[in-house]
Subunit: 331 residues, 2 copies
């Protein structure tokens, strides 16, 4: 592997000149620059990442603590991560996978100078990692919105607003008894941030409008079918449903919607490409997963630049009536 010294020798300049050509941190004559760039090209030179980060005290790496367990919203997680990667790469950052959920994994990555900043996903309402992050003075962004009031930047989809929006829409459609068929029980029990907020918004809006709302956990595979069947049997008065469970969606959407004899209004909350492919939905609310990732990363990069950012940034929900209507028409 050639080093910067090899490049300097080949170009007949000093190593600092090579360094400055690469960083652009000082003006270089056209002629010198060209000679250096040629040498770099010729030698196929890439700077040694560790040497660079040792000297510059920056790694250009962002640590990512992401839930890789399958089961919970794989699509959403994937797309968020894809968005992060895209935005990071565009800014010459790499992503280092930190894949257990332990708080001290964050500490070690930071103290060992493996990363310049941290992205933390799958946040719970009262997440132990928050204290750790607060002590760490490394720029970090949470994807989620814990209830704790620590000075940590949070970026997420506004699940509470989505819950309100869905409830309101269902009521608008004439339903007086609505239900949220949501995440699997373990997700709710862990008080995963998004699940908590969705429930709060949905139930809150229903209460305000004097409508009865219930919340039902739901497995995210075909096991959802009997669960939903029982649920509908025990609550025959439910006429409007918000379905937030991408795994269960294909299995239970038709059943929830019902048939001509007993139709229900169903709103799906999931990535648009998933809801688009299910016919008969009353409406859909997109989870802009990729955007969440992009936005979280962009915010993190701003923090790295020393900028101030809003502590909480929530992407607003919107109904996709048009898309739903199209599907309904063609089906």
């Amino acid at each position: 592997m050639p080093t910067i010294a090899d490049v300097a020798a080949a170009a007949g300049v000093s190593i600092s000149t090579v360094s400055y050509v690469m960083s652009g941190k000082r003006t270089i004559s056209q002629e010198t620059r060209e000679r250096v760039e040629q040498a770099i090209e010729q030698l196929n030179y890439s700077p040694h990442a560790s040497a660079r980060s040792l000297a510059s005290r920056a790694t250009n790496v962002i640590g990512l603590q992401a839930p890789l367990r399958s089961g919970v919203d794989v699509h959403v997680v994937m797309e968020i991560v894809a968005g992060m990667v895209q935005e990071a790469r565009a800014n010459r950052y790499d992503l280092l996978l930190l894949t257990d959920d332990r708080p001290d994994t964050l500490t070690r990555a930071t103290r060992g100078s493996q990363v310049d900043a941290l992205l933390v996903m799958d946040v719970e309402s009262d997440d132990p990692r928050i204290t750790t992050l607060a002590e760490l003075d490394t720029p970090s962004v949470l994807v989620g919105l814990p209830t704790t009031t620590a000075p940590i930047t949070c970026v997420d989809f506004d699940f509470e607003a989505a819950g309100r929006l869905a409830a309101t829409r269902l009521i608008e459609l004439g339903n007086t008894r609505i239900a949220l068929v949501g995440a699997p029980a373990e997700v709710l029990e862990r008080h995963t941030s998004y699940a908590d907020r969705l429930v709060a918004g949905f139930v809150g809006a229903a209460e305000e409008q004097g409508v009865t709302a219930s919340v039902h956990p739901c497995p995210s595979d075909a096991e959802a079918v009997p669960v939903v069947a029982r649920l509908l049997e025990e609550n025959p008065d439910i006429t409007g449903v918000l379905l937030h469970n991408e795994g269960a969606l294909p299995h239970v959407a038709p059943r929830l919607i019902g048939d001509e004899g007993h139709h229900r209004d169903v709103i799906a909350l999931c990535p648009a490409d998933l809801s688009r492919s299910v016919p008969g939905l009353a409406d859909a609310i997109d989870i802009p997963a990729s955007n969440i990732g992009v936005h979280a990363t962009r915010t993190l990069l701003q923090l790295l630049d020393g900028a101030e950012t809003a502590r909480v940034q929530l992407l607003p929900p919107s109904l996709q009536s048009a898309a739903a209507a199209t599907t309904a028409t063609t089906s």
Copy 2:
């Protein structure tokens, strides 16, 4: 951040002693070791990763080129990656996400000494990255099995054997006209390694046994429903199906299986937890996704250790009749 010098000072020893305590590369007196360990503890010291890798010429990082696009088998990809992470962590390696598919991303990561080794996923039958890897002399493992005969270690599930197994089983069940409902068209057209091999095995085994087999691409969402409907209409003689498309599975499995009047034998090829939740399958073949990741990583670590490994390592398929039977009984 404390450095190794701080630790040395606090323990009243030299820098090299601290280093050797950490690496275990020379014998240290009990007493000295304890003093050093105490100092490390007290100062909350973590060695600077870049400094270490600059001096030791090893990063303890594995580069991972993984397809983060949603759409294609998210569950499988996720679980493979999770398996990789698990095995890497257990051996004190981290994973750096390289997430465009370009060959020169591999080159840069290696030449820049960002990684010690590479894991490459989503391999096509004739993948341009293979040449790159061969030139790179960095240990690497492909997840997949390209047709090219380059000296590159490949680890994957044996999709060809799975295809044979499924065809044979379907024939055993009495079917004389069988079909593979598989990956989306774009996956087949890209000649993704696993899709190609599955087709080869399925069709090959059918031919050998004098049975007609056809292959049908299939969208991996609800769009699969009309596609499958048409397919069955146009080929009413199909009585046995191998379904390899986790996205389409919940949407089309019931339809493929049919009703009492017109039953078909359907074998699902997907992670076991997915097939388990679909009732009425004739059989299922597990894709041991997590194992693929673990195995690929383990093999890579062996290569890093300088060991020789078999160039091609395929995890054998097996029928899950028991599980399928259970599901059938309870449904």
